[in-house]
Amino acid sequence: MLTALLEQIVNGTMIGCIYVLVALGMVLIFGVMQVLNFAHGVLFMAGGYVCHFAFFKLTGSYPAAIALSMLALAALGLVLERAVFRPLRDNIQMQIVASLGLILVIQNGVVALWGPNALQMRVPTAETIVRLGSLSFTAQHFVIIGTVAVTIVILQLFLVRSRLGTAIRATSQNADAARVVGIDTNRIFLITFTIGSALAALGGALLGPLFLIFPQMGDLPLLKALTAIVLGGMGSVPGAVIGGLAIGIVESVSTLFIPTDFRDTVVFGLLILVLLFRPWGLFGVRVRGEA
């Protein structure tokens, strides 16, 4: 039992790290632009596909393929922010319509380019087994956990220490006030969306070798990331990290006690339960007059 529990905790941490990557992008974009980008899951998926393409067709190196995939998706994010989401700021209804439109375009575009079948991406780290006592995992598990940990640290340093990061935080706190002190908020929006898209691509590229790469691979991470940022309190970066990890671990451990079919019931039931007692999320700021 203890072995199984430990195994599920490591598995949960790994998948939680993937949720964290998706959630970080979404929480940055939401915090800064007030845009809820439901198309973030297909960016994740597209990241997986581009990484696959880069790995097999352009370079044989997995890290280089990841970097290329992040660059490609950053470029796509740049275009999407400029062409679609910037005109729709302040209109959450039409953001939902546009996101769904983008989901259809990107998901079916990928099917048209690569076909509907799932792709395999065997990279060396996914083939290597690491033994810890009686437990065994692929090296990719630890690649994911390590990469995400480093990413979180870099992102946090960037946001807190650099001028640009400070400008991003300022815009997130109050866009009007940020403009008053001379921050070009349009540029900040563009940069934030680009970073978010690149993080989604990193997630897809990291998960691809473990699971398969297929057109719907981003759907569940999107849902879980959405749950994570709500749990964390909509707009809180540490909240998104802890929310994502918590969801990953809870859902993995819950499979020991409850049939796998009800995994999502547990996760979303837990979300509702937390919000009943803390309607502003675990790390959010309480608004006056709220329950």
Partner: protein
Amino acid sequence: MRPLLASTGVLGLFAALYLVPVVAPGQLYALHILTLALCYAVPAIGLNLLFGYTGLVSLGHMGFAGVGAYATALLMKNGIVGFAPALLAGAVAAGAVGLLVGVPCLRLRSHFFIIVTLAVGVILYTLFNNLDALTGGAEGLPGIPRPQPLDLGFIVFDFRRPQGFYWLALTVFAATFVVQWMIVRSDFGRSLAAIRQDETIAAARGVDVFAHKLAVFTISAAIAGIGGGLKVTFLRAAAPLSFELLESINLVMIVILGGAGYLLGPLVGAVLFIAIPEVLRIANELRLVIFGVVLVLLALYAPRGVCGLLAALRRRLGSKGFAHARHS
């Protein structure tokens, strides 16, 4: 706003819709698409009341439709009751679940509420998909009978035929449309509009915001339940995939596309949403890509939906009265 002109226009539209099978008797495929669109237009009316008129977005509304659908399906499949009582029972079941969900969730702030409705939708879906004994699991409940023929003496409506079922679906839609109209025009409806415009001011003016939200959420879930019951009777099977998250998002799209807060928005949205992909079948594999582009363009250039676009056009042409005008 000339109410007489508006109601004449709506009556004329419904008369035209009723005459479709008579005018174009051979167009069974088009009739099938229209009937399917009506099956979406009914739950869209429920969502329109909640979202268009009260300003609350629900991303799990097809979950409530599913509750109604499974209730209707179970009652009809086992021959316990006929179509109309089964549909009403479905509405009651969906409304009851809506009430239960609404009590805790309606206290949450905007974005939190949206995500919680999404969570409720996903939970309901996993229940449909996994409570095999009750819902038949992933296979669903096949073999739902069509309603018994209705014999009026001079004419017999056979609901097993496409024309008959189209008329039935249209009648169910017309009934929910009337309910929507009555609610929107009532004092209750005005209070809902006040809540949408500014909750704090509405509360200060003596509107019990929570009670109103709870009432409209329950009604909205019940109407969605009717839509679900209609859909499974039309498709003759209840399956979990009909009520998954994507379907809930599609429903929100239908309401927004048609024009949230317009009486005819749900109908216009449903017909467009179901018909455009069918028309695009000529483009084969790329049809959903094109549809996606159409959606993005509509989001960018028709921010208040097609009804809003038409109303704006109408205003530009200088006429003030328009059947689709916003009732608020």
